[in-house]
């Protein structure tokens, strides 16, 4: 929480002067009833019309100044809040970018996005309201009470009974309703879930003719919502009438005891009017205060969520820079890896070496540790045990950016970004020329369709690549990794949406166009990796065989089994 305060350091002036001007406005507002009391007590009593006019002019001047002060405060508040918000978001985004994969996994990207956008906005809003209202409301309560005390101490006792009473009611209602609102929200979430599932499952639901049952189920859910909402409503409906009653009964008391005081000559008629005025002001300020509490609770919760991210240490980084040597480009020395909080190693004691320009195939079922093993190479995760060596350097000691620049990664899920095809193709190298881009697209078998698009490289890609087919997305995602001929390419099961013929052409092109590049191909199918210089067979985190296709057929039972089953399939069992 405190950590966020540093983003306010450039806005100290606004933080001080904003509430200060608001305070001035509130003071002026409090003076108005006193002036009006003077008009009644002196102006009217003495039949002095010039006195009345003078005082009325004062009220107008007070109003003009009040307006000027209030506007100044609003401006300072907006400036401070948005300045703070902008700096906070920028720092937060930088920090998010510095986090390791493990940290990102733990928090989840959806939650990161949420904190970066919604939570920072809520905190920003909190700062804005704080400047505008946090001083005003309590001050009005205290100020009105003080003014009342100065007019008549004994009579002001009524204030000190009524104000805590109203506060207590507000407190009671809030404590009672906040958990109930949460419950209602959960019920609403359930209705949202049902709706989403129903829209996604339209075909299945209709295929089973279960529409009516689904409707019945949903009706139950919305019924539930209305029952909860009405229950909360019943309680919060007490707030306004109750505070109205307390305030006005307070006024009745003021009138009665005020009458007694006037009769004894210690209070004037005008002062009595001012008294009732202050009572009204206190009530309004208390209600505003209650709303503030709700807003600040939300802001604090958001501030804590943002702070949590700042508390996570950035990814470790070394200084070594991988150099081009002629020896082994990748070496695993008895490498094991376990995800945070997992009970078992996902990769267990793997050792192998790979020469520059060789192709490595990794095969195995889902969850066998194929992708995890590959993600140790760009140091997305750090080996729990053993050493991962790239270009002669231990990756733990490498500058991660330099390390990742020599690697082209094609993730399992082909994600493209909003912008043109060219923008997407410049991800590895922002200075890539069109020739380099087209050559990469050709290798990835993507140029054939990009060329046919009316705008070619300038074709606009919508968020996530929605306007392309799965196969097209995958091919562009492959091409993106090839731009600038990286030293290592990792293809993480990334040809699943391609048909056999395209897949084959792609593999051929990779071999001829990227001859110097070390290729790591993760796959479930033996056909894709059969020609690799080295194949690692993974089973449940362990490597159960390393060798060429022919060697493994002889020696590795698991590989033999996979191959056989896939061959049988081809021949039609």
């Amino acid at each position: 929480m405190k950590k966020l305060l540093r983003f306010l350091r450039n806005y100290k002036k606004e933080l001080v002067f904003g509430p200060f001007f608001k305070l001035l406005e509130a003071i002026f507002e409090l003076i108005v009833p006193v002036v009006m009391a003077d008009i009644i007590d002196k102006g009217i009593a003495n039949n002095d019309s010039s006195y009345i006019i003078k005082k009325i002019i004062i009220i107008v001047i007070l109003g003009v100044c009040g307006l000027a002060f209030a506007l100044t405060c609003q401006y300072l508040a907006a400036k401070c809040a948005y300045g703070f918000g902008t700096e906070l978001r920028e720092a937060l985004y930088k920090h998010i970018n510095s986090l390791s994969h493990s940290s990102v996994d733990r928090i989840g990207t959806a939650s990161l996005v949420n904190r970066l956008t919604n939570d920072t906005n809520t905190v920003q809003d909190g700062v804005n309201r704080f400047i505008r209202l946090a001083v005003r409301a309590p001050f009005l309560v205290i100020g009105a009470a003080v003014m009342a005390v100065t007019i008549d101490l004994k009579l002001s006792l009524i204030f000190f009974i009524a104000a805590p009473l109203i506060s207590a009611i507000i407190f009671f209602i809030m404590r009672k309703t906040i958990p109930m609102y949460k419950e209602t929200q959960q019920k609403l979430d359930r209705a949202a879930l049902l709706t989403r599932e129903n829209i996604e499952g339209t075909r299945v639901i209709r295929a089973f003719s279960r529409q009516q049952e689904e409707i019945d189920e949903f009706n139950k859910a919305v019924d539930d919502i209305s029952v909860s909402s009405i229950a909360v409503g019943k309680i919060s409906a007490i707030l306004n009438p109750a505070s109205f009653m307390i305030m006005n009964l307070g006024i009745v008391a003021i009138l009665w005891f005020g009458g007694v005081r006037i009769d004894s000559g210690s209070l004037t008629q005008g002062e009595l009017t001012a008294f009732t005025n202050y009572m009204t002001q206190i009530l309004l300020a208390l209600v505003a205060l209650a709303n503030l509490v709700v807003i600040f609770t939300k802001s604090f919760a958001s501030a804590n969520r943002v702070s949590e991210i700042f508390d996570i240490l950035p990814e470790e980084n070394g200084t070594a820079i991988p150099e081009k040597n002629s020896g082994n480009i990748i070496e695993f020395r008895n490498v094991s890896f376990r995800y945070d909080g997992a009970g078992d190693n996902s990769v267990d004691g793997i050792s192998f070496t790979l020469k520059r320009g060789e192709m490595l195939g990794i095969i195995g079922g889902t969850g066998s540790g194929k992708s995890t093993m590959a993600s140790l190479i760009p140091c997305f995760y750090r080996a729990t045990n053993g050493e991962v060596i790239v270009s002669g350097k231990n990756v733990n000691e490498c500058d991660v950016d330099s390390l990742r620049r020599i690697i082209g990664l094609v993730p399992q899920k082909a994600v493209l970004f909003t912008g043109t095809v060219r923008d997407n193709m410049k991800w590895r190298n922002e200075n890539a020329t069109d020739d380099e881009i087209i050559s990469a697209l050709k290798t990835a078998q993507a140029w054939e369709f990009v060329e046919k698009m009316p705008d070619k490289l300038d074709t606009y890609i919508a968020q996530g690549g929605r306007n392309l087919s799965g196969g097209q997305r995958q091919r562009i995602s492959i091409a993106r990794a090839l731009v600038g001929k990286p030293e290592i390419i990792i293809l993480d099961d990334s040809t699943s949406a391609l048909d056999y013929a395209t897949d084959l052409r792609l593999r051929k092109a990779l071999r001829t166009d990227m001859a110097d590049t070390t290729v790591i191909m993760i796959s479930q199918r033996t056909t894709s990796i059969k020609d690799a210089d080295k194949i690692i067979v993974m089973d449940d985190g362990n490597s159960v065989g390393i060798g060429t296709h022919n060697e493994l057929l002889e020696t590795c039972e698991v590989y033999h089994e996979i191959y056989q089953s896939q061959m049988n399939e081809k021949e039609g069992e």
């Binding site: 108005v32 039949n47 109003g63 401006y75 508040a77 985004y93 006024i251 990664l409 922002e430 087919s469």
Partner: protein, 579 residues
């Protein structure tokens, strides 16, 4: 807009009693509260000065005032209760209606809508309508009654000063609407910038791993910083403009207060005879009224924005309700004792008239035959599912099943004769047993287990935390393959005469894949089946292979015939053996 509001009220019709009571209670509660300043004024008038206080009268006034206050509070409370019920019940009915509508619109409508957006209409938009109703009823009614009431009371006290107030108040309205207009522009800009920022953040932070893999972080930070700065700048403007409304209207109200004070005081000392005689008490109640009179104007202009929002949301909801529905065909013939014979006669179909897809397609399928549909990804293989199950209707030609034109039988009975397994598995939040018995809710546990065993799903289900009673959902940690096995078990339990199976392409581990293959084989015994195939084994042994490309059926025949043709299929098939 008026139409939309009227339509919202048709939903409120069953709760007309609550509506009437709301209005009555508001009328009583607010009117009573308006008498309060009158009695305060009377009380002030009784307390003239030292030794001149008439306690008898003061006590009487105090008692009446107390009763008024309590009664008014009580009726305000009753009003809140009624509005609550009215708003929440109305919204409940509306929500139930939209949901039911979604079950009756053509599949086409769901396909072309964004799924998140549809959900948002059922949930978020209706929430906004609910807020609007609550605010609308409470603030709008009590606001209007307050304005009229205070006006009447002020007229009683002094017509001329009242007229001054009436003339001046629109000022506050005009000022507020001027500011709103001025700020609207920067508000729109702000929400656009915010949208840009959120979508950038979603894209980049949402794909953090790729950003890091490509060392794109610095460039992403630069772009983010640029958007963020713009958002900050426009945010200051928009926020400042919108926060001007309150102080400015407060200022206008102060002016009105001063004007009332001036005229009232002048009237009290009788220096301007035109105003008429006033007491100090009159003045104090007048001042209270002028405060109360201007407040609802501000509130209403606030509520107005909310109401506009609610009406816009309601309109979006009504748009869904106005969609065409599939015709009710429950009175049509039921498809009974289906023998599994299917024939397509000159079928033509396209999703939109401009691009023709399936043209004059004819095929006779005998009972128990296996039809494979192959082709590259995205070639429209699922069109056949859409037509056979009448998710979409054919443009011309006929599909005849077991001697019945499918247009002449009820959709439900047609679908009951098909078992369908889609590539995109669908499990809903519920127990495994509930998911399996989806098509047959009264199946016994015995039958469910039998079905699961038949598709080799029993093993992994047994190992789940609570076995068949484990609650699962789309993202509850079950693998894609396991979910697919549950979907197959669902069909196994139903045992329909015809099947449509979509094989999964996504990465499923080898063992599970084998299980699914075996499950499919078991399921297909003696049934007419359509298989959307990605595996060669399924293709080769099929009785008929339909080869599709860009939405059209380009070749049809069995494996031998198609290989002999040496066309698209042959090329597709042979590529598998090259490497």
């Amino acid at each position: 807009m008026a139409k939309t509001i009227a339509r919202i009220f048709t939903y409120a019709k069953p709760y007309i009693l609550h509506f009437i009571l709301t209005v009555i209670f508001a009328l009583i509660g607010v009117s009573l509260s308006l008498t309060v300043p009158v009695y305060i004024g009377k009380a002030v008038d009784v307390c003239i000065g030292a030794g001149e206080v008439d306690f008898g009268e003061l006590a009487e006034i105090a008692v009446i005032l107390g009763i008024m206050v309590i009664a008014s509070g009580f009726f305000q409370w009753l009003m809140s209760l009624c509005t609550n019920k009215l708003a929440f019940l109305t919204v409940r009915d509306l929500r139930a209606d939209v949901f039911a509508k979604l079950e009756r619109v053509p599949v086409k409508y769901i396909d072309k809508s964004t799924k998140g957006e549809l959900t948002s209409r059922v949930i978020n938009d209706i929430e906004i309508v609910s807020d609007g109703l609550l605010q609308g009823f409470t603030q709008f009614f009590s606001g209007i009654i307050t304005i009229i009431g205070t006006l009447v009371f002020m007229m009683f006290i002094n017509v001329k000063i009242a007229l001054v107030v009436v003339i001046l108040t629109p000022l506050s309205f005009i000022v507020a609407s001027k500011i709103t207009k001025a700020s609207h522009d920067s508000y729109m800009k702000q929400s656009k910038m915010r949208g840009d920022m959120v979508s950038f953040a979603e894209e980049m932070a949402g794909n953090q791993k790729i950003v890091k893999a490509f060392v794109y972080d610095k460039r992403a930070e630069e772009k983010f910083s640029e958007i963020n700065k713009k958002y900050g700048e426009i945010g200051i403007k928009a926020t400042f403009f919108s926060s001007m409304t309150n102080p400015t209207t407060r200022f206008v109200n102060n002016l009105i207060y001063a004007a009332v004070g001036l005229m009232g005081a002048m009237g009290a000392i009788g220096s301007i005879s035109f105003i008429g005689k006033m007491t100090v008490g009159n003045l104090s109640s007048f001042l209270a009224y002028s405060n109360q009179y201007t407040k609802p104007f501000n509130e209403i202009s606030g509520v107005f924005a909310e109401l506009q929002n609610a009406v816009a949301s309601a309109q979006r909801v009504f748009n869904v309700l106005d969609e065409d529905e599939v015709s009710d065909d429950s009175d049509k013939k039921k498809l009974m004792d289906c023998n599994g014979e299917i024939s397509f006669k000159n079928v033509c179909f396209s999703y939109n008239p401009e691009t023709k897809l399936i043209q004059n397609f004819s095929l006779d399928v005998d009972s128990g035959q296996r039809i494979a549909i192959v082709g590259p990804t995205g070639c429209g293989k699922s069109t056949i599912i859409n037509l056979l199950l009448r998710f979409y209707d054919i443009d011309s030609g006929q599909i005849v099943i077991s001697g019945n034109n499918i247009m002449d039988i009820s959709r439900d009975s047609l679908r009951n004769n098909f078992g369908m397994v889609l590539q995109e598995t669908w499990v809903f939040t519920g127990t495994v047993a509930e998911n399996i018995s989806y098509g047959m809710p009264d199946a016994t546990r015995e039958q469910i287990i039998q079905a699961a065993k038949a598709v080799h799903a029993h093993g992994f289900i047994k190992r789940l935390a609570n076995g068949y009673d484990t609650v699962i959902s789309e993202d509850s940690g079950l693998s894609q393959g396991q979910k697919q096995l549950i979907c197959i078990a669902r069909i196994m339990l139903m045992n329909p005469p015809m099947l449509i199976l979509d094989e999964a392409t996504s990465s499923i581990d080898l063992r599970t894949e084998h299980r699914i293959q075996r499950a499919f084989t078991k399921l297909m015994q003696g049934k007419t089946s359509f298989i959307i195939a990605h595996r060669l084994s399924t293709i080769k042994h099929s009785d008929v292979i339909l080869v599709m490309n860009s939405g059209n059926i380009i070749e049809q025949g069995n494996h031998k015939e198609l290989m002999a043709q040496g066309g698209f299929y042959a090329e597709l098939y042979n590529s598998q053996f090259e490497s």
